[in-house]
Symmetry: C2
Subunit: 451 residues, 2 copies
């Protein structure tokens, strides 16, 4: 039921503004971490400085925040030393911490129930000086702290929660959405949560927002020029799908504001019997590739899962099959790449298209196919092309995928994992309790805020 925007905003703000107790708890943990880092640093006598960064430091965090502590090194220290020392400090401060690798290594641990990252970086003053991907973060931090007004912090929180609700929040590879810094910049640009929502109605693919002037062109779906670096698009991680989801959500929220945009209901879980029934009723062909998910960080895993989905999709389309939808999910320790085909079975004979008749290659096409054992006709003219009817090698998409898995480029770790073991499940074989959550979500296509 639609409510007034003001009432909804007030209700959501209540839910997402940290209570004095939460705030105290976070502050205590951050303070203690900074002290520990300070102590650890002393051993090196190198003018290293720790600092809290991210939403915690900017007071734009949502409940259950991550804590990011950066350890800033002087530029004179080599990258190798910086990484080594950064990890030594990490091991020292986070006893049960584990090394992680994004573009460069950092340490992750859990302290007082919070996810904590200890990230080494270089201390820079201008973006041109940056040596690693994370060096700019303290400059972003300074920009936000200098510009974001006190009363805008709740607007950032609202926007973050809205984006979380519709599934487009976070720049990490798993989500490909809006980063925290991007939400802050949008509030700075448009003034408030509601103004961002209203403004998004004018966005379209390639829309450009310049917080400082920039000449640089970008290809991404949304372009937001970084105010501390005119050469960078802050929205570079955002996928087209997430941009359009956001724009659509903004339209619908304005038409009928509801708390479900911020806190969507989870889709109901279907029984395996119901799943089997739905698959059968649709008449499409379901095929899932299942394998052990490689043990790599999500920022490495998810791009490979997308590559895997894309490669198989392309293989099928190139062979005349058509995909209704595809998706993937990590289910326990397994990765499941799911395809639903509209066309999955084709005749024995297919038309093979050659070059236009006036291209030099047309002649060699004609000669090759005039005497090929797979040709079931002579090459003939079809509009501006030479074509020939040939025997189709793969009449069912299932055979096609089975036969080509070994040759496709699916991402290095995924290729290795598939080589070890994999299975291909089709149609009702997917009606398995293990995959019921994934299939329930997949089969219930809707926008997140809907029932």
């Amino acid at each position: 039921m639609p409510q007034s925007v003001e009432k909804i905003e007030a209700e959501i703000i209540k839910r997402i503004t940290p209570s004095p107790e939460e705030r105290k708890k976070v502050e205590t943990t951050v303070k203690s971490l900074l002290e520990k880092v300070e102590r650890s640093i002393k051993r090196y006598d190198l003018n290293i400085e720790p600092m809290a960064v991210g939403s915690i430091a900017r007071d734009t965090w949502l409940p259950d925040p991550d804590i990011d502590i950066f350890i800033a090194f002087p530029l004179k220290i080599t990258l190798k030393d910086m990484e080594r020392i950064g990890l030594e400090i990490g091991r020292d401060v986070l006893e049960k911490g584990e090394r992680k690798y994004a573009e460069h290594p950092y340490t992750h641990g859990i302290v007082d129930g919070f996810d904590v990252d200890l990230v080494p970086c270089y201390k820079i003053e201008k973006p041109e000086q940056r040596m690693t991907a994370v060096d700019r973060s303290p400059l972003h931090q300074k920009y936000v702290i200098d510009h974001l007004k006190e009363e805008q912090k709740k607007e950032v929180r609202l926007l973050k929660r809205f984006m979380k609700g519709i599934g487009v929040y976070s720049a990490e590879a798993k989500v490909q959405g809006f980063s925290g810094y991007l939400t802050e910049l949008l509030v700075l640009k448009y003034g408030s949560f509601m103004n961002v929502i209203k403004s998004a109605l004018n966005w379209r693919g390639g829309f450009r927002i310049e917080l400082i002037p920039s000449e640089k062109m970008f290809e991404e779906p949304l372009v937001v020029i970084d105010p501390i670096d005119a050469q960078r698009n802050v929205a570079s991680a955002l996928s087209l799908q997430n941009l359009t989801t956001f724009i659509h959500a903004c339209k619908e929220f304005l038409k009928a504001p509801r708390t479900e945009f911020f806190y969507p209901k989870l889709p109901a879980k279907l029984t395996t019997q119901k799943i089997a029934e739905l698959i059968k009723k649709k008449g499409t062909f379901f095929l899932a590739l299942v394998f052990e998910a490689p043990k790599v960080v999500e920022d490495v895993l998810y791009p490979q899962l997308r590559k895997c989905e894309h490669s198989i999709r392309t293989l099928c389309i190139q062979n005349g099959f058509s995909v209704h939808n595809s998706d993937f999910e990590i289910v326990g320790s397994e990765a499941v790449i799911l395809f639903e085909f509209e066309v999955f079975e084709l005749p024995k004979v297919m038309k093979h298209r050659g070059p236009p008749i006036w291209i030099k290659n047309a002649e060699s096409f004609y000669e090759k196919w005039s005497a090929d054992k797979n040709a079931v006709s002579k090459p003939y003219v079809d509009g501006e092309h030479l074509v020939v009817d040939i025997l189709r090698k793969w009449m069912h998409v299932h055979e096609l995928v089975k036969a080509h898995l070994g040759e496709l480029s699916l991402g290095k770790n995924i290729n290795d994992s598939i080589k070890k073991r994999h299975s291909i499940l089709v149609n009702e074989e997917l009606a398995n309790e293990k995959y019921a959550d994934f299939l329930s979500r997949y089969l219930n296509k809707k926008m997140p805020w809907e029932d």
Copy 2:
């Protein structure tokens, strides 16, 4: 087996050059026809002039020629009178002649075994004066007679026979090929048959030949500016398919000259048993629409047959089915429009694509399909579009065509004929002796000069 071009040319010239007896026979018939027309004209006292036009008059005819006699009227006579008197003369000269209508009426008859057309036209001196489609013909005639050298006449005959052999000769609607005048212009432009063949290797879609300069742009596959009218493309009737067939034939003839380019073998006729076998083996789906061919001249009938083929093809493609090939043929008194489908059966559910999310219409799409009884999902975001899964109405192409025949625009006379009676034959129902010639040609895809 490849032979020398010179030997082949000599052999073909021998077969296509009229013998003194043939020449005598044609001349006698033309002379007697002109005399009859002269006598008939006398009744009107209107300064009307008869003249032989076409290949007979230019001495570029092939054995068994048509005889075209034009009856040229002064410009002061009204179109109505000219048509009336033209037909009166026709009835007078050709006793068993029948009235025909192209753009305007003329009389057709058979005299001494020759097809004769008596065509009224206006006597003009410049193309701008033309009143009817045929008025320019005497000017074309004069241009060719003034420019074509005696030794080039055999070159025109060779080119015509080559084009006949590969099925691209005649500008009439049935063929959509090269007109006689166009072959003459090509020989004038390039000098000889072999030079036309060699030059065609450089042609491509939109190639332009200017016998006089012209600024006018044309969209047709080949553009040959009429030397007596810079505003006209002599090749306007030529289809892309026939242009590419000609270019391909020229390439292959140069590589391996054979008499089969001029006199191809007819494809072997298959038994109905073999036809049924081939259809089954291919695994595609054959569907033929059969109806009584409307009793109209070919120049009216063939564009409608093409329109019919195109409309049904478009209907099927728009509904997700894909066509392997299609074709049509007049078999006795019936027209047969044949389609061979690659995809002919589709799942119950289909994806219906809406506008890009940033288009105003996206909202009404979302509202319509959020509450439509044919929707089996909510509308959802798919890349830049909103889409929705809906129930497919026609799961088999056979049902689709059956259901829509009544509404399609198939050409006026064909629509009428189908309304009266038609049948739809599928797969082995086409293995009928009646259609065996057509199916034999259709199933034996090859270039005409090949075995």
